[in-house]
Amino acid sequence: MATHNKTKSRLAGLALLAWSGMALAAWELNFQAPATKAAQTVIDLHDLMMIIIVIIFIGVFAVMFYSVFAHRKSRGHQAAQFHDNTLVEIAWTVIPLLILIGMAWPATKAVLNMRDTAQADITIKATGYQWKWGYDYLKGEGEGIRFMSLMSTPPEQIRGAAAKGGNYLLEVDQHLVVPVGKKIRVLTTATDVIHSWWVPALAVKQDAIPGYVRDTWFKAEKEGIYRGQCAELCGKDHAFMPIVVEVVSAEKYSQWVGAQKQQMAATADEGAKTYSLAELMSRGEKVYAANCVACHQANGKGLPPAFPALDGSKIAKGSKAAHIDIVLNGKLNTAMAAYGGQLGDGDIAAVVTYERNAWGNKAGDVVQPAEIRAARK
């Protein structure tokens, strides 16, 4: 699991390093350290197959290379003229067949175990969006918690304007927190295209298919933070929708649930408060950076024709109501998603305010959470 910061290209001696790299942490040759029994099973199965494969490989190629060296014309070897031998053929068909059947048996047990989602303690729904994950705690302790989880690696690091951090591309703003030793059932679905929810250390990978739910499960054996990524090509920011699962003790988990509930209640209350332009602008900038930058870009210029500019756009300069409406409800048949279900009143108020007053836009008006709440009705 250890990551590292070596980004400098090492051209000199690279070929050599490739084969002597086992000592370096980064030259990972095998699966990530397992955090579940299922992941351990996968590693054991893989080890078993590798041993068998290496033996067969050496066997076959020892014969071939012996033949290549011994039976060459330059050594004066005369060609034999046999061209079949039923006994040999039967042997080399039956033996691999038996070996393969032997390998299929433990695999069957592992598959049956992997797919048994019954008796779960907590059910969490993971929803894939282009390009982030949303989590809903459907059942069990923490029921009702829902939040979005976005990559928090800053664009400057990706663009090379800043040094890359330790968990480059694998860090999110909100971890998926689960208790240790509990069976967590994960339902996957998506809103737009197929995504795939994958955390290698937990040995969980399940496609998230729009319109359908699929389920899988894991039971983490030890506390820690486990990182994964979307595994199915889902459009331009496919590389930038990581998954971070934080496994904590039961007590910590209960604390976390409490804190989340409080925060959700606070968010729900936001509709009553009023904020200043400066407060909304600074909060809006953060919301914008997390949710809007991928398409509309940091400078508000968008990527026309697919993603229109906001800087100087009719919507950002026009009526507040239309602006709020498009953020809340999205625009049908475009990439503009409805954020009403993803963001709270305060965040939407802030981001709308930000869009109306950032860059060249100088609407000067302030959108308060109460207006969002009213627009939702």
Partner: protein, 71 residues
Amino acid sequence: MNMGAMMGERRAGPLQVMRTVLSALFGVRHRRMHEEDAAGLRPGQVIIAGIIVVAVFVLAIVAFVQFVAIK
């Protein structure tokens, strides 16, 4: 090794066709045995038999899976 055998008019029985197809699926076939069989085989027979054998093969795996998955 003589061409006359290939032109034979004798028709192969179902058993013989099955033997041909099964040994093909298994991947082992002696040329001499093939030439004995080939005398009476028609392509149509072999293709139909092949499809039947594959269908049986699939059904056998399915049945085995049912047995394993729903214990």
